[in-house]
Amino acid sequence: MIPELGHFALITAFVVASFQALIPLWGAQTGQNRLMAVARPAAFLQFALLSLAFACLTQAFVVNDFTVAYVAQNSNSLLPLRYRISAVWGAHEGSLLLWALTLAGWTAAVALFSRRLPREMVARVLGVMGVIAVGFLSFLLFTSNPFRRLLPDFPLDGGDLNPLLQDFGLIVHPPLLYMGYVGFSVAFAFAIAALLAGRLDSAWARWSRPWTTVAWCFLTVGIALGSWWAYYELGWGGWWFWDPVENASFMPWLVGTGLIHSLAVSEKRGVFKSWTVLLAIAAFSLSLLGTFLVRSGVLTSVHAFASDPVRGLFILGFLGVIVGGSLLIYALRAGGVRSEGSFELLSRETGLLLNNVILAVCALVILLGTLLPLLSDAFGWGKLSVGPPYFNTVFPALMVPLFFLMGAGAWLRWKRHGLAEWFRRARFSLALCLVLALGLTLWLGKKPMAVFGVSFLALWILAGVWIDLGDKLKHALSWTAGLRRLSRSQWGMLLAHAGIAVCALGAVFTTVLSEEHDLRLTPGQSVAVADYRLAFSGLKEVDGPNYQAMRGEFQVYEGEALLTTLYPEKRAYTVNRTSMTEAAIKPGLLHDLYVSLGEPLDGGAWAVRVYYKPLVRWIWLGALLMALGGALAVSDPRYRLARQQAKASLGKGVEAA
């Protein structure tokens, strides 16, 4: 009965979303308050119904209801409860349901926190989000119903969840990532609503800023978690592969980062407005493209669970409608937008423009590398693949100027900044950064180019933060008083920029300074890595709830002192007969020691990976700093004050018109 209830809730949610899509938009175009008022209750109702549907599916997993096809394919009675719950979004149908629920959640949040916005704006924003919801719910209902029953011949036990996904990482990674992906739909809806209203003013930019930043924070944490999960779960110590699925999440992040910055310019200075709208459309379109790439099965990777052409065509069509429709509205409406401010060549506006251009070019370059194999195959140019070396050549080449600009431009003034003044302020920091970076390079004595480059840029970004802080505290009575008076958005920016520096250091140091040994070891042998000695003392068999494992034992010595013992495992999952590598890691702020078992060889020996990874944690630490910065910026009380003022000024504008 319960799965049918869930299915029914899903159908009802679809109907409610259709009303939410049509009526408020019609009301806003014709100025009928009663029609516009439908938007809010519809948003809440849709959220409630999708929560009910999601709860029903979760219940089916919890009680092992294998009459439901989706449960039978992705769960098993031996699977521990926490993984039975996370299995709800472990495969295609359930993860789409999570997508729809997340969208409904964002819609309800907009409905809840938009009390101070003009009625037409709310109606249009919620209407646009309703259109997106209709698309996804019809996709769910018509091609990927998670409640489909297997009656009367249902299996006695399920096919088990993909072992890669039986992990803490999977419990949290997809929901966070979806919060980010889907969160960009709010920025998108605001942009389309503003275009429909023909009113791209700074109030619109101010309204969509906090929503965009929240979505960006979630996406940042989601991507970082995915990278961390790949690092410890895939068993060979990589943290980024330029896999199409990773690129699919990284492209919206890059464009979203640009969007955050360009929204700031649009709000404060009234310029770049049509560009900002275009970025908002692009960020969400890339999120949809990511969904298409992952869910249609056009790619072969861990994430492509299903390959069903109908599904792929549906998402592709939906993508076409959303992108084409929004670009059409853009083309019709954005022509009349006029910039309000002007600025000179050396100014904060120019700095942010360059930031936007580089980020957009970067997203395009990654898009090209991701789609080229698909396009080539589709047009019959031959089968080819674009390997990580392509991305590893192009991406750093674009990051170098971007990071340099971050250090040089973060403290520029709006409108104009004198070149002589810039140089006077920057020269000391510039010299200091060069000397420190050179010192670090000489001290390490390895890979001088990369080490010098990244440490200079990271220091330079921090110097930019430092100069900016100095400018802000210039008129304060004391440092402490000045620091206390800094607004939360200012703290947010400082933290996020510092996060980039930390992340860049981690990424480059890990890449160029890691020690990686693939070895053949027999119990009793030991191996030296960096300053450590690892002794392989033996293996034993252990049984898990739904797997059997061989567990290796490695003592880690520093000098003569025993530091810790690592237990990497090789697991064989009983139900779907796959084997999995569980790495053992000795984590540290400055370096990780990483051991994983390869395969058994003749004579009791094993193939073993032993890695020494300097600063690898800094990659995710930097990402957390960025997200924390974003969170601080959103919590700034000025957004709540500003909303009241915006309403007042908008009222005046209407009167004047």
Binding site: S385, V386, T393, D518, R520, R577, T581, G603, A607
Partner: protein, 158 residues
């Protein structure tokens, strides 16, 4: 030309130059790093280039995997059930690498006709076949069945 316009022109010039450089770099990097795909027959017929790296797909021939006894060197043959290609690899094979399994190897063809693999990819479960490999084969099921039968025969003998 007034200074304002000159500045605007400078900004646009800077952007065009920067984007142009990025495009140039991208094309250069693409040219260096596109890897074409060949199936075993194509490599055996000598269609694959000697030198640049490419991807080779096929089933691991049952009974062909030979490991060195003192290192991680391994040799095996890949087949599309028409021709076979020898592959050499040094390192740890993925969890799903098995005889009879469809895999993809990335590597360079040596003058001796052996592919020196730098990377071996095996994904998903034992019944999964990389799409490139499946497409290049005349009869996927028959090919897989032949390999399975071979595995059974080997098992019975030992």
């Amino acid at each position: 030309m007034n200074p304002k316009r000159r500045q605007k022109l400078a900004l646009i010039g800077l952007l065009v130059l920067g984007v142009g450089a990025a495009v140039g770099l991208t094309l250069f990097a693409l040219k260096q790093n596109i890897n074409l795909y060949y199936d075993a027959s194509a490599v055996a017929r000598g269609e694959a280039p000697v030198g640049p790296s490419f991807r080779l797909g096929g089933l691991v021939v049952v009974g062909s995997v030979l490991r060195a006894s003192d290192s991680l060197k391994v040799e095996f043959r890949l087949t599309d059930c028409e021709r076979e290609v020898p592959v050499r690899f040094q390192g740890i094979l993925p969890d799903l690498f098995r005889e009879g399994q469809g895999i993809i190897a990335m590597g360079k063809l040596g003058a001796d006709g052996v592919v020196e693999a730098s990377e071996v990819l095996a994904k998903h479960d034992e019944n999964y076949m990389p799409p490139e490999v499946a497409e290049g084969m005349k009869d996927v099921d028959a090919c897989r069945a032949a390999q399975k039968a071979m595995a059974k025969a080997l098992e019975a003998r030992s």
